[in-house]
């Protein structure tokens, strides 16, 4: 089974790329495979290239990719509740990554860890560092996760649904923190989410995924102004908006279920749920075409 097939993504330094799609569409697998963290078995990377500063991560020896993980490329996961090890203090968990990649003493690593905790705006970081994850709130833990990821000033940060598990008010704080830190460190960020609202507020460019494929790619403004793929259009219509002047619009959900990756149609993978489906959608899968400069879509009706 191919969870992810023929996905091409690129992120430039200082850019925030949004990766959107419903759960189960292959966003997380894509993210994990960048750092080769897909559990094997059952998962395996069968082909493709992941190019980072001129090096192909797919073909790098294990020892080399290990030196990149957590140092040049970092990751934040969805569940702050379960992503931190319950039996170590948060300070230890931040310091551990620092000691792994830098030749510093235990003491220095700890001091740096406290410094990083301060940078992710944890109050009283010296005291918090000595606490265990269960003593912290969800938002606090996600800040710790961010601290672990950013401790070594990575060039690329992959944030997999960093706010999904949090309360709405906390979500905004965490996003703001991420944006601020990106600005400060000039790093590239790949923000994975199912929430177009989050994308609209933060990302520069957006990639929409469906059933393990990229179906549309554009800058945020272009995508929201002019969505080309029926799936993207569906996502937008399911998004509540504060609109003044115009008549209130009904919220619409995309009909049908997230497809089973084992039973995909041969043609366009979205065809079974597509409101605009035509005869030609079924036999062959459309290519991802550039419809306008910097805006491509995988749909025969586009353009």
């Amino acid at each position: 089974m191919r969870a992810v097939d023929g996905v091409t993504l690129s992120v430039r330094p200082g850019e925030m790329l949004g990766l959107v799609g419903e759960s189960g569409c292959g966003k997380t697998v894509t993210a994990l495979s960048i750092l080769r963290l897909v559990p094997d078995p059952p998962g395996r990377i069968v082909g493709g290239t992941i190019s980072f500063e001129g090096r192909d991560l797919v073909r790098l020896p294990e020892e080399e990719i290990r030196k990149i993980r957590g140092c040049a490329i970092s990751m934040i996961f969805q569940e702050p509740m379960t992503s931190l090890n319950p039996v170590f203090t948060v300070g230890e968990q931040v310091a551990e990554g620092i000691r792994q990649h830098q030749k510093v003493s235990r003491r220095e690593a700890w001091d740096q860890a406290v410094e990083v905790l301060k940078r992710v705006k944890i109050s009283d970081p010296a005291r918090r560092a000595r606490e265990y994850p269960h003593q912290l709130s969800g938002g606090m833990r996600q800040r710790v996760m961010i601290a672990i990821a950013l401790a070594l000033r990575p060039k690329l940060l992959i944030a997999d649904e960093p706010t999904t598990a949090l309360d709405v008010t906390i979500q905004a704080q965490i996003l703001e923190l991420l944006l601020g830190l990106q600005e400060e460190m000039k790093m590239a960020v790949m923000l994975i989410t199912h929430d177009l609202g989050v994308i609209a507020e933060t990302a520069d460019r957006v990639v929409v995924m469906y059933a393990g494929r990229v179906v549309e790619e554009a800058s945020v403004k272009e995508l929201f102004d002019n969505p080309l793929h029926p799936y993207t259009q569906g996502l937008m219509e399911s998004l509540p908006r504060l609109e003044t002047g115009k008549a209130r619009r009904r919220l619409r959900a995309i009909p049908g279920l997230v497809p089973n990756l084992l039973e995909l149609p041969t043609g366009c993978k979205f065809a079974p749920r597509c409101p605009k489906v035509v005869e030609q959608c079924w036999p062959t899968e459309p290519e991802l075409r550039e419809i306008r400069p910097g805006h491509s879509a995988r749909c025969i009706l586009a353009g």
Binding site: R66, G70, L84, N85, P86, F88, Q100
Partner: protein, 310 residues
Amino acid sequence: MGRYVLSRCRQVVPVLFGVTLITFLLIHVGLGDPVRAMMGQRSDPEIAARIRTEYGLDKPLWNQYTLYMGKLLVGDLGYSYRQRRPVSRVLAERLPATVRLAFAAMVVALLVGGIAGTIAAVRHNTLWDLLIMTLSLLGISTPVFWLGMMLILLFGVWLGWFPISGYGDGGFTHLVLPALTLGALQAGYIARMTRSALLEVLRQEYVQTARAKGLRERVVILKHALRNAILPVLTLAGIGLAELLAGAPLTEMVFAWPGLGRLLVSALGNRDIPVVLGATLLFALIYLGANFLVDLAYAAIDPRVELTKR
């Protein structure tokens, strides 16, 4: 911490009380007349009556019990009928051998079981996994004393590597076979538990976080995963210790190990009631003490456990 120890001690009292009561009743009702057992063939009613008065056996049972408990509170376990000296001294002589054996067996169980279980989990679904799981299944399916006999045959009689019975001068070689025998069953259980706990932990997200930090796989498993997987294993080890102690009499019989277990079996045969009572109590105490240690270890490893609450 101090409060916790105190509250634990308070919990132990009713259990010990229950243990004494059950044993006392069972033994006095069941073991038959200790005086007749002591005197053997010659039955002089006059001497028998004198012995009875001397040991307080002519009093009603409830009276004997309160007397016994009264003395117990000040640490007096009474006199052995057979050895004619304080039970506490008899027990004190035998205790070190049993503690040594049980401790060595538990170390064997934790080391062998822990390492084997870890290898099986890391090499999940390989030949190693299958081999280790088969061996641990055999370990938990073999009667303790029979395993002892087979080890005697193999390493003692045929290969001649280790002495097959007795305590020797207390050296290491005499300890090897009994410890292996007594530890094998628990090693099997611990290997199985370690494997399944580790497999479960390896699926957790914090393991992925550790990998994403760029840690070596060895560190991920030995530090992040094992530290969490050890918690359920510890719980099992606590229960296992009870089973291990229960197996001690059998192992001590097979290897003629001069411990509490053998003392207990022979005291039962001799109708030496005070010794039986004392040894049983001591076994229960060892068990409770060990479980207390397991709880302390649990709290030391898992920061979520607070000792004061419970």
